[in-house]
């Protein structure tokens, strides 16, 4: 399949696009004011945070409108900001194109809704201001990540979102589990970041540039082997940030953060940065079939692994986290297919951003009502008590399982069809994944909203306030309609094509193709099975032991055990060895040296007797030595 040309970048100034830096600057200022202002800003901190996010959204929307005013071939607008390290990145600039503006709208749009929601969700938290500061920081970093026109600035944003993620996962750091989870996320991400860094080194060594235009336009010049190496290293980076196998383990633990964080960072935006990276670096991957193959395999493996994990979790957020892994697996799969899949990957990313944020916020609303209980076995029958939450959640649920005509139906179907065309094995595995999705999402909904009440004695569930339900309603509108809008008539693919290219033959939407029908059938079977097990039947209050398969899924497919055996234990031995060496070898040397200097100082001190006569004697002896030395040297 031949790719359509990627348009060249037009330098731009003026208008909302020229002011694109404001998108980043506004939330950054918000974060700075809230963090530096301290307790003085407690009163209005949350409002300022929301205001900055919304203002950023307005700029993004204006820039989007302005971008639409250009002919498609001129929709890649470069905005240069300032000069930077000569030779490495001469000028740091922003790149406003259909790809980045799509992300901007998602990040600021969904981000603003989650900001608003957080006002209610964090109302009773004494550190609410700090929370909003971190959220603002995250939005700024994420926007830098997607708006940068070079890998270096992208990396700054990449690390920025990593930092914000770390701070927010560990926001309730008084809980040891949260602190540990934050550290785990940070360390696992470090592995991916090192991959990205080495990829950048290799890129610079190969192309002598780090700007997208300097690298991607000349991707064809590099050898196949170099491109494969760069592609795989970029994939390592993407896997770390997007929780793809084998760097997936941190995402489930990351659910220790406040739920709005899980919705914004660990579902809608940050975890999709890896997909962005792969799509943005498209020309590199397109030049190397090997890297593309690995990308698709990673995608499929993760989409199945995430789905399987989702089936066994009783913690509502962890079940959703497994689902996030799985859905990003779909996106990575599509991104690995090439230009035919990019538009579907990004479209699914956007719709997923809406329906997953919708469901996470819904889950947050449920937890809010149930005294922060996350065990679904203690839910049940909540649909009557929380009608709005239930309705919006139901929309998200139907969207994710691919219920016809909802968002997920169009975008996921697009991915499955593209994958099928690329390779039948990948396609059918993706279909299988959709079936499992049908099962575990139904299980989640049935356990939470249907069946008998299994509440704790103290629980008095109630509907959440409007500040929380309104964002839910808005998000569910996106979950219903966005997919059809983007996919029908290849609207989104045509829109994106100047940025990422497009296949020669635009795909047509076949509602009744074989894979499509098979998907629907499998989803229906999965949902029915879930109804039998969790809707119609009694749900035990404590989890049954289950088969070895269940245990396998509950233990996150032994991902942690594997990490511990392969990396943690050898790592601990290595550090112990290093500490031993440091104590005995280095410290011995250093301390010995320090002790000998200190000791000689103590001994020499006694020379300083305080008696003038001994001082005079020392001068006399010194003078004698000096004269003697003078003679010796003079007669050499």
């Amino acid at each position: 399949m031949e790719a359509a040309e990627i348009a060249s970048i037009t330098q731009h100034s003026g208008g909302a696009i020229g002011a694109a830096w404001l998108m980043i600057a506004l939330p950054l200022v918000g974060a700075a004011v809230l963090l530096l202002g301290g307790r003085r800003t407690d009163k209005f901190g949350h409002l300022l945070g929301v205001l900055m996010a919304v203002a950023s959204f307005v700029v993004a929307a204006l820039a989007f409108v302005q971008l639409l005013g250009f002919a498609p071939g001129e929709r890649r607008r470069g905005v240069s900001l300032f000069e930077f390290i000569p030779g490495l990145v001469d000028k740091v600039g922003l790149l406003v194109d259909p790809l980045s503006i799509s992300f901007c709208l998602l990040i600021t749009g969904v981000g603003s809704l989650i900001h608003v929601y957080s006002i209610g969700y964090m109302a009773h938290d004494p550190n609410r201001r700090r929370f909003f500061a971190y959220l603002n920081l995250f939005v700024a970093a994420m926007l830098l990540l997607v708006l940068a026109d070079n890998y270096l600035a992208l990396f700054v944003g990449w690390e920025g979102v990593g930092l914000a993620s770390y701070l927010l996962i560990g926001f309730w750091q008084h809980k040891p589990s949260a602190a540990t989870a934050a550290k785990k996320a940070f360390i696992v991400n470090r592995v991916g970041d090192v991959g990205l860094l080495i990829a950048m080194f290799t890129i610079f060594a190969t192309f002598h540039s780090l700007t997208f235009s300097g690298v991607l336009d000349r991707a064809g010049d590099a050898s196949q082997g170099t491109l494969t190496a760069i592609g795989l290293l970029l994939l390592v980076g993407a896997c770390g940030k997007s929780a793809q196998l084998p760097l997936q383990s941190w995402l489930l633990d990351a659910m220790e953060g406040p739920t709005p964080v899980s919705a914004l960072i660990h579902a809608a935006t940050m975890v999709t940065a890896g997909v962005y990276l792969i799509v943005r670096s498209g020309p590199i991957f397109e030049g190397t079939g090997t890297a593309q193959l690995v990308v698709t395999i990673v995608g499929v493996a993760t989409l199945l692994a995430g789905a399987i994990i989702g089936t066994a979790k009783d913690d509502i957020k962890k079940a959703l986290a497994g689902s996030t892994m799985s859905q990003i697996g779909y996106m990575v799969l599509a991104a690995g297919v090439g230009p035919a899949g990019y538009a579907f990957a990004i479209a699914h990313l956007i719709t997923h951003g809406f329906f997953k944020a919708d469901m996470f916020l819904g889950a947050g609303s449920v937890m809010h009502a149930m005294n922060d209980e996350v065990d679904m076995r203690k839910y049940g029958g909540l649909r009557k008590v929380m009608p709005i939450t239930f309705a919006t959640f139901l929309v998200g649920y139907l969207a994710i399982i691919g219920f016809p005509l909802l968002s997920g139906y169009f975008t996921k179907d697009g991915i499955i069809e593209t994958a099928m065309e690329h390779s039948a094995v990948l396609g059918w595995l993706a279909v299988l994944g959709a079936g499992i999705t049908g099962f575990y999402m139904s299980r989640l909904v049935f356990m939470t909203f249907f069946g008998k009440k299994r509440w704790d004695a103290k629980a008095h569930p109630h509907e959440s306030p409007a500040v929380m339900t309104v964002p839910l309603l808005l998000l569910s509108i996106g979950s219903i309609a966005l997919g059809a809008y983007l996919i029908l008539g290849n609207r989104f693919m045509i829109f994106l094509s100047p940025a990422v290219g497009a296949p020669e033959h635009l795909p047509e939407f076949h509602p009744f193709s074989a894979p499509g029908l098979a998907t629907l059938a499998l989803v229906a079977i999965g949902a029915a099975f879930a109804w039998l097990r969790y809707g119609a039947a009694e749900v035990p209050a404590t989890a049954p032991r289950g088969s070895f398969l269940t245990t396998f899924a509950r233990r996150d497919l032994y991902g942690d055990a594997l990490n511990e055996a392969l990396f943690m234990r050898p790592g601990q031995w290595l550090t112990r060895l290093a500490v031993f060496f440091d104590n005995r070898g280095v410290d011995g040397l250093v301390n010995g040296l320090a002790a000998s200097i200190g000791g000689s100082s103590g001994r020499l001190r006694r020379v300083q007797t305080g008696f003038v006569r001994s001082y005079a004697l020392s001068i006399f002896v010194g003078a004698a030595v000096l004269v003697g030395a003078w003679f010796v040297v003079g007669n050499l």
Partner: protein
Amino acid sequence: MNGTIPAPTIEYGMLAPMLVVFGAAIVGVLVEAFAPRYLRSAIHLPITLLSLLISFVLIVWQWVEGVPTKAAAMGAIAVDGPAMFIWGTILVLAFVSVLLIKDEGHFVGAAAAVPGSAEEEQALYEGAAHTEVYPLVLFAVGGMMLFPAANDLLIAFVGLEVMSLPLYLLCGLARRRRLLSQEAAMKYFLLGAFSSAFFLYGTAMIYGYANSLDLAEIGASLGVVGGQDMLLYIGGAMIGVGLLFKIGAAPFQAWKPDVYQGAPTPITALMASGTLIAAFGALLRVFWVALGGLDWNWRPVFYGVAILTMLGGAIFAITQTDIKRMLAYSSIAHGGFLLIGVIATGSAPAQNTSALSGILFYLVAYGFTTVGAFAVVTMVRDAGGEAWHLSRWAGLGKRSPLLAGVFAFFLLAFAGIPLTSGFFGKYAVFQAAVTGGALPLVIVGAVASAVAAFFYVRVIVLMFFSDPAADGPSVVLPSRGTAAVVGLAALATVVLGVFPQPVLDLAHSAAQSLFVR
């Protein structure tokens, strides 16, 4: 020799800066003799400050007019680029030190009274203060100016004594810890006299060799006179002893901690900056102009002295528990670093210029920082006066973050951390030494700096990371003068550390002319 001594021709214009200071000192003595006691302080202060200021302005004027290239007063006093740079530096630092000196409470009321006696009580009760301090300081400053400019060994000796004698007296005038102060004065006097004798003896020997006291003529006689090397070697070494003593180089450093500790802190500040600068100026002049042809001889000896001084100063300082003694040892170590610059001189004029300008910059940088550091010491007091013991400084950063921060900054400058003046000083000297082929010395210097950094940082750790003592010293609200001194010193340390180019350029152009012969 026909028995008549012709009156020497004196270029008053060239010597005016020095004459102003000496003149003001004599006026000060008259004030002391005739003005009523209650008026003296009010008269002294403007005279002192004004004379230093006028002198400085005269130097600047002369600099702009054009640096003289011939020695004045019939070749006895050389007013050349380095001398004028040193004069200017000494005058600024003396001005700053006088601002410290003017603060109440540093000087005893009746110096002659036995410590702890009824007379002393009485003098304290009357609020008497030693206003002689001002003329004494002016005489010392005049001596400091004469010493490095002297182009004649006898004039150099006169300068040495004019500088030292008032300082001996000033050391004994501390209001608190009288015994320690008098002991310091006594020690300084005895050892100073001892070392002066060496200098004088060396002068005699050199005269015996060269039949002249004029530095240029001595230089010209090297290698011409035959068979008298014994006189030359002994004379050169003895003069070296006298000069190295004033610098405080090992093994002639023993007086420094005792004297720096006992002297009133403002006087310590003056000595640590002014005396060191003057002594280095004289050392450079004598060993370049007179004994430059003998450098293959003295250079190895100085090599050893520099190593001994740097390592000795740094190692001794580690176990000090008294802030003033620690700063004294730090001053010894810095003297060693400066000696590296002296050794870095080579035959090529460009090399000499870069070494000399490095030393000059180092002196300016170190002078300001050390005055600032001692000014801070004057402000940390408890019931017994200034709190010198380091344990009393624990937790100072928690109670007086600003003061402790400034002091920490000075200490970092002593350690030579980048973005402070100390860094560029060391850098200039070390770089000159590396190009001059004294790399081993620079390595020793770096090691000594590392050892020295330990005790500087230890004080910082003590101030900021230790819990304050319950009855810890309080920081007095500084007078305007002291605050100005600390502020100026901190400013100089920052500016010279961030933006050293103007002063480097100035030092370079001063060094360009080298020493006149």
